[in-house]
């Protein structure tokens, strides 16, 4: 009965609080209570304690205060007979456990013990999950490619079962965290023994060897409501409701349960995350704390994933093309090393290209895969290297020439999501590898075509009625077709270049993030892509054609009210409605007055530096200090959650080189600082834009972290470099 669980959770919390206390007092004795601590790359202190209580833990002394909160939540075990109620007490103990675990893990960092290293294999666990990773994953959290999260605790009965559970989770696009042990073994070790790729790229993230490390996953979850939900620290009711309603996480506990597992589970139940066990545990079926069952059991490991997903109320639709290998975004990140490669195409080794073009309905045959080249089977069987031209021809009543590039960009994902098949690059610089394992499983050249046809249909279901795929494998054919393709690329680029905000009547909104950031609305124009960098205007247009009631809606521009700041009547009308009244009006081309809001998954943050009379840009991957005196993670905390914050704005990388970038504030000449890596990434485009703006060497005048990380030195640098921003009108 649930009393067993409650008793264990209450005991576990008491144990952990005592353990944390002991470690903390020792650390304070050694290092003093003013010893400063922060988890790597987070703006949220000890995130669970911060979100629940609003208390910022910055020092060991602060930890002592926070541990006091945990102690207040401890209770006595219910008695054998005539017991007093225990559910509320067990859940309190769960929260106490999370607080104690957060402090324990922080202290392990202080003592240099995190991230853990597996003593046998040398494998280094992930440890604390940074804000950057959280934001990197932002778009996947909302576009359906990462619909849920599993925490697997313990070890499966056999290595093969561990692999099959994780593979199933991968195929269902679930992000999986691993922690804890059972009988001295763990799923992490089981997967390592089986040679399974682990890490963020394959969506299987080992956090640490102990149950306590599960807290890292919960710390990750709670930051969703801080970052994307814009919930105030300390407003625990709202945070926890958000977690229950929007963060689709669940636990699968493999192997025998103990007090710590139960108490950590009780902590997770506070967040609405249920647990499914593979042992004969008591179950808790009544609903209300979780959406459905809180604790359940399933002995059949082939059913455990499906059951856990349903228990969490998660709907997953997976389109799997008829190919002999596993398929899904979780396999996208797989690398195929040279020695594992069976055959490769392109990559400067052989001529190759990929090209999508629109055809008339009668010109192509649906789902047909044509391989042009004699004896292709024999030549494929030999492996090694081969030329490859991929031509995808699409027809449909709603198909438009503009969608060619949108469909073509998905080729990368179509191929990469197949396990054992790898793709990078695009157009005529693509590179594909098929691994020995995939070949062994029966993957042929034809499958490369089949998956394109299937996935193009799936992704563009109401645009594309017919898809035909042709693969060219003779060098002569490839080179010939390549000429045609290049002409098409060029024509396309010119068309995109001429696509301006003024040239269209309709912008598109992007509401995908409303599943996590309910108040935020992106407005995507031809010259301003979504702040996540993943959706441009054409994507929006195509997405609307695919699903007229979906996350991208047309926004008729209406009348232009302010050409300089980019204010349109239609945009304002739409925003009022779509943001639920949170945003009244929007200026597309300025940071200073009613700028665009952010969900939290922006690629870059712009922030004004008044003393430099300009703006700095910091991209998500940059973890160093900025002249603002804040790191990316801290700055990001000021912009998320769908609120307009003049002087701060989240943008996509490609927007920096748009002609509409801060058009109303003076354009790219306002940029005074950005990280070197970002400079390098956009250099080519930027130089072109700089020339157009009349300052050809602007990029060199812009400071970066190698020049300065504070505003005083920044101004010095700008002055000596003769940066134009200093001469411009005051930005404020």
């Amino acid at each position: 009965m649930s009393k067993i669980i409650a008793s264990a959770a209450i005991r576990g919390a008491n144990t952990l609080a005592a353990r944390a206390d002991e470690m903390l007092q020792k650390a304070i004795a050694e290092k003093g209570k003013d010893f400063v601590f922060e988890f790597p790359d987070t703006a949220f202190y000890l995130p669970m304690i911060y979100a629940m209580t609003g208390f910022q833990v910055k020092t060991l002394g602060d930890m002592n205060v926070a541990l006091g909160f945990a102690k207040e939540l401890l209770h006595d075990e219910p008695s054998e007979q005539v017991w007093k109620p225990y559910l509320g007490e067990a859940l309190d103990s769960g929260m106490a456990t999370l607080f104690a675990e957060e402090i324990l893990l922080a202290l392990r960092y202080v003592n240099g013990l995190e991230p853990c290293k597996d003593p046998d294999t040398g494998y280094v666990y992930n440890g604390f999950i940074t804000d950057t990773i959280q934001r990197n994953l932002g778009i996947q959290l909302v576009d359906g490619t990462m619909p849920g999260f599993a925490a697997i605790i313990g070890a499966a009965p056999t290595d093969d079962i561990a692999v099959s559970i994780c593979r199933e989770l991968q195929e269902k696009n679930i992000l999986t965290f691993l922690s804890g042990q059972s009988n001295g073994d763990s799923v992490t070790r089981q997967l390592l023994r089986k040679g399974v790729d682990l890490g963020w790229d394959t969506r299987i993230v080992p956090l640490g060897p102990d149950t306590e490390h599960t807290l890292y996953a919960l710390d990750w979850a709670i930051r969703a409501s801080l970052i994307f939900g814009g919930k105030k620290p300390g407003n625990f009711k709202e945070h926890l409701t958000y977690q229950k309603d929007r963060v689709f996480a669940f636990a699968i506990a493999l192997g025998p349960m103990d007090d710590i597992k139960w108490s950590t589970g009780a902590g997770a139940i506070n967040m609405g995350f249920p647990a499914l066990c593979d042992t004969d545990v008591p179950v808790i079926h009544p609903t209300g704390v979780c959406t459905y069952e809180e604790v359940d059991k399933e002995f059949d490991h082939s059913r455990i994933v499906q059951k856990a997903i349903e228990m969490r109320g998660l709907k997953i639709t997976v389109e799997k093309p008829p190919i002999p290998v596993a398929y899904g975004p979780a396999f996208e990140g797989e690398r195929i090393r040279k020695e594992d490669t069976f055959i490769e195409f392109g990559g400067q080794r052989t001529p190759a290209f990929e090209w999508t073009r629109m055809r008339e309905m009668e010109e192509i045959e649906d789902n047909k895969v044509i391989i042009v080249g004699d004896n292709w089977q024999e030549r494929y069987e030999k492996g090694g290297q081969m030329p490859l031209g991929i031509l995808i021809e699409c027809a449909g009543r709603k198909m438009q020439k503009d969608f060619e590039s949108v469909i073509e960009r998905k080729i990368h994902h179509n191929i990469n999501e197949a396990q054992g098949v790898w793709h990078m690059g695009q157009r005529d610089i693509n590179w594909i590898r098929i691994s020995n394992n995939a070949k062994k499983d029966g993957f042929t050249l034809e499958h490369l075509g089949i998956l394109q046809a299937t996935m193009t249909h799936h992704r563009f279901r109401s645009i594309v009625d017919k898809v035909q795929v042709t693969l060219y494998i003779d060098e002569k054919d490839v080179k010939e077709k390549l000429q045609e393709a290049r002409a098409a690329y060029k024509e396309r680029d010119q068309r995109v270049g001429s696509m301006t905000d003024e040239a269209v009547d309709i912008f598109y909104s992007c509401l995908l993030c409303q599943s996590f950031a309910p108040a935020h609305v992106c407005v995507i124009t031809p010259e301003r892509l979504g702040l996540c960098g993943a959706y441009n205007w054409l994507d929006g247009k195509a997405a609307y054609e695919i699903d007229p009631t979906g996350g991208n809606q047309p926004v008729p521009k209406g009348d232009l009210m302010d050409a300089k700041y980019g204010r349109y009547t239609g945009v304002d009308d739409y925003l009022k409605k779509a943001s639920g009244g949170a945003v009244e009006t929007l200026n597309l081309y300025t940071i200073m007055e009613n700028p665009m809001t952010s969900c939290g998954c922006f690629e870059c943050i712009l922030a004004i530096i008044p003393e430099a009379n300009g703006v700095m840009i910091v991209n998500r991957g940059h973890t160093g200090m900025t002249p603002m005196g804040m790191k990316f993670s801290t700055l990001a905390g000021t912009v998320g959650g769908g609120a307009q914050t003049p002087g701060f704005m989240g943008v996509g990388v490609n927007f920096i080189t748009s002609k509409k970038f801060l058009f109303g504030d003076g354009g790219i000449k306002r940029i005074v600082w950005m990280p070197k890596a970002l400079k390098e990434r956009i250099a080519e485009e930027f130089r072109t834009r700089a020339e157009e703006a009349g300052v050809p060497d602007l990029l060199d005048m812009i400071a970066d972290e190698t020049i300065c990380e504070d505003s005083e030195k920044l101004v010095e640098h700008l002055t000596s470099a003769g940066h134009p921003a200093l001469e411009m009108d005051s930005i404020i």
Binding site: M1, S2, K3, A6, M52, L73, P78, S79, Q81, V82, W83, K84, P85, Y86, L87, G88, E89, A90, L91, D92, G94, M95, V142, D143, G144, P147, F236, K237, E238, L240, T241, D245, R246, F248, N270, I284, H285, P286, T287, G288, V289, Y292, E294, E310, G313, L314, K315, I316, T317, L511, L512, Q514, S515, P518, A519, T549, G550, G551, G580
Partner: protein, 662 residues
């Protein structure tokens, strides 16, 4: 002749039998000897003026019978009912006034023996009353709270009692539509007396509407104020483990019993009996210590807060004395049988009246007064100790006792469903929606020697939980269940239906939740309001799958309670013959008409099987109207709605505001 069973509590029955042998008369004997007046019991007797009493009887009395003044039977029955409501309201509310006065005295530093125990609750109440509390001294806030509550008693110019707004908006709308929002407590009682005076209000429906207004002044006024202030002064109850029945008395300790309804003196006695000097004094008299017990609702108050054991409810008061073990019995107000002084004469027990309002011939009077609370409590405890050596061997020594889990305040019920962080009524609402819990019954009211005392409570409690109905109990209903051994979590494992059992097991609760004294029926009102606010069931109190039952009621206070539940939207079923039996028109108003207007009703039904059927029928009909899953025992579980990304984007943007407990 078949042996008559007087009470369904075996321990009590053994004492009654012993008393018969000893020729000591009890309420059971008197109930048997003294038949109810057949005219008065069904509401057909009018004695509001001295032209009467008039008996409105005879063939076709409903249409034809008239009093001397011409009053019809429906008029007379309705007026009698209103007078009962007024008396009940007066009782609870005068008690509440005492609580407010004490709070004020504490705030002003004049009642130094008391303090404010639950500051969080004080702030919550202040918040509801729109009194600023942040950054202010606690006593200033308490004073403002007390002064605002005092307004609720004597407000003279229109207005509404403050707690009206705690009801769901739709419930308030119904009250406003029918003009029954109470203006102030005393005023409604005074007006009730005025209207029923000779020659004033004669239209039965009009008379009874004022009955509902007066009753609302009781429920959302007196009772609720009393509950909240008692929590502020002495702590909001949380579950405690205690004991019930006559076995709580100890042979080798001084047994002091507090009986009645007020917690003030009792709280002080709780404190004083653990003073080392007192214990030492008891030891000088040959006792091992001092054992404090309770009876009736004073017992419930200190049981809920301090785990003080209870000897049971109303019909146990004479029997308790007959154990021969009670050295002193203090009484305050309400439900005190004057017979106890007679019984006590045959034993050594001292009866002490303590309230300025209530004296009994043959009792010693030590008047409680909050400014000198501790001194008075000490005097009483000393008196009990001094009486210990006088204890004789005579008595029906009973050792039966049962463990009890009690202390389910609104706040704790919210807490127990999710703890400090997730506390809410979602799980309860979910359980009702999924059919795990069929519905909720408030099992309350007195125990009564005219039936097999506590027997109806026991029967209904057992049958309801078997039928997956969660019970919340108060007053002597709680005492009846406690002395039956029903208030344990094991009860749910052994006797609850499969769905209720799952819920009880998940939370760790008994299937019957002891909410406190009869004045704490107000907790049921705020719980029902919270359930409405939580969503998924009815958006008002009316229409919930919930019923109130007082199977053995006898006090006018029970009538006031039944009427405030009816007006708030809860159908109530009372046991025994109807006090308005004589008039079918009045009966119809109190059932059909009230149900149509307020979704509540007040039925009288002596047959326990029929009470049960009627309650389940109300619950099932409410489920049907709310389009909930049809109740089927053992078949529950929500159909899962699996969420894809599009569905997640549609999650209602503004989460429903929810008043948390902390």
């Amino acid at each position: 002749m078949e042996k008559r069973i007087h009470t369904a509590t075996p321990a009590a029955e053994r004492i009654v039998e012993w008393a018969e042998e000893q020729k000591i008369e009890t309420c059971f004997d008197r109930a048997e000897k003294l038949k109810q007046c057949p005219i008065g019991k069904e509401g057909a007797c009018c004695k509001v003026c001295h032209m009467g009493p008039c008996r409105l009887v005879g063939k076709n009395a409903e249409a034809e019978a008239r009093g001397v003044c011409g009053a019809t039977l429906p008029t007379v029955a309705a007026r009698n009912m209103l007078r009962m409501i007024a008396a009940g309201t007066a009782a609870h509310s005068d008690h509440a006034r005492g609580m407010v006065e004490t709070l004020l005295a504490v705030a002003e530093g004049q009642a130094k023996d008391f303090k404010i125990t639950d500051i969080r609750k004080l702030y919550r109440v202040a918040g509801i009353l729109e009194i600023e509390f942040e950054g202010r001294p606690v006593n200033d806030v308490a004073r403002d709270v007390a002064l605002k509550f005092l307004e609720d008693f004597g407000r003279q110019r229109g207005g509404e009692i403050y707690y009206t707004k705690r009801a769901p908006q739709k419930t308030q709308d119904r009250w406003r539509k029918w003009g029954i929002v109470p203006r102030s407590i005393d005023r409604e009682v005074v007006e009730a007396m005025h209207r029923t005076n000779i020659g004033v209000d004669h239209e039965p429906d009009h008379v009874l509407l004022h009955g509902l207004r007066t009753a609302l002044a009781d429920g959302w006024g007196g009772c609720m104020i009393s509950t909240d202030i008692t929590d502020i002064l002495f702590g909001t109850p949380q579950p405690v483990k205690a004991e019930a029945s006559f076995g709580i008395f100890k042979e080798d300790e001084v047994n002091l019993v507090v009986h009645g309804h007020e917690p003030l003196l009792a709280e002080m006695i709780v404190d004083v009996v653990s003073e080392p000097e007192m214990i030492a004094y008891a030891q000088t008299k040959g006792a091992k210590g001092i054992n404090l017990g309770g009876m009736c609702c004073t017992a419930n108050e200190i049981l809920m807060r301090h785990a003080i054991p209870t000897a049971g409810g109303f019909t146990n008061q004479e029997l308790g004395i007959m154990t021969g073990l009670i050295d002193a019995l203090t009484v305050d107000v309400q439900c005190i049988m004057p017979a106890i002084t007679e019984v006590a004469k045959k034993f050594h027990t001292k009866i002490i009246t303590t309230n300025y309002r209530a004296k009994i011939q043959g009792a010693e009077h030590i008047e409680f007064e909050e400014h000198h609370a501790r001194d008075i409590a000490r005097r009483i405890v000393r008196l009990a100790i001094d009486n210990f050596p006088n204890r004789k061997t005579k008595g029906s020594h009973i050792t039966d006792k049962f463990p009890v889990i009690a202390g389910f305040s609104h706040e704790y019920i919210e807490y127990m469903q999710g703890g400090r962080w997730r506390g809410s009524f979602r799980p309860l609402n979910d359980a009702i929606m999924a059919g795990r819990i069929r519905g909720v019954v408030g099992l309350a009211g007195c125990d009564n020697p005219r039936v097999q005392s506590t027997g109806l409570h026991r029967f209904l409690a057992m049958e309801l939980i078997k039928n997956d109905v969660l019970i919340v109990s108060t007053g002597c209903g709680s005492a009846a269940c406690g002395t039956a051994g029903y208030l344990t979590p094991e009860m749910s494992l052994e006797n609850a239906g499969p769905g209720l059992r799952e819920v009880c097991e998940a939370i760790g609760i008994p299937p019957i939740l002891h909410l406190g004294a009869c004045v704490d029926n107000s907790r049921i009102l705020t719980i029902a309001s919270a359930m409405a606010a939580e969503g998924g069931l009815s958006d008002e109190i009316g229409g919930m799958p919930a019923v109130g039952i007082a199977p053995e009621w006898m006090s006018e206070k029970a009538i006031a309670i039944g009427c405030y539940f009816a007006a708030s939207g809860v159908p109530c079923i009372f046991g025994g013959e109807s006090p308005v039996e004589a008039s079918s028109e009045v009966t119809k108003i109190m059932t059909d008409v009230w149900f149509e207007r307020f979704r509540g009703a007040l039925h009288f039904e002596p047959d326990p099987e029929k009470m049960l059927a009627m309650a389940l029928d109300y619950i099932d009909k409410a489920r049907e109207t709310l389009k909930l899953k049809k109740y089927e025992p053992g078949k529950f579980g929500t159909e899962k709605v699996l969420m894809d990304m599009a569905a997640r984007r549609e999650i209602e943007k503004a989460a429903k505001p929810h008043v948390g407990i902390f």
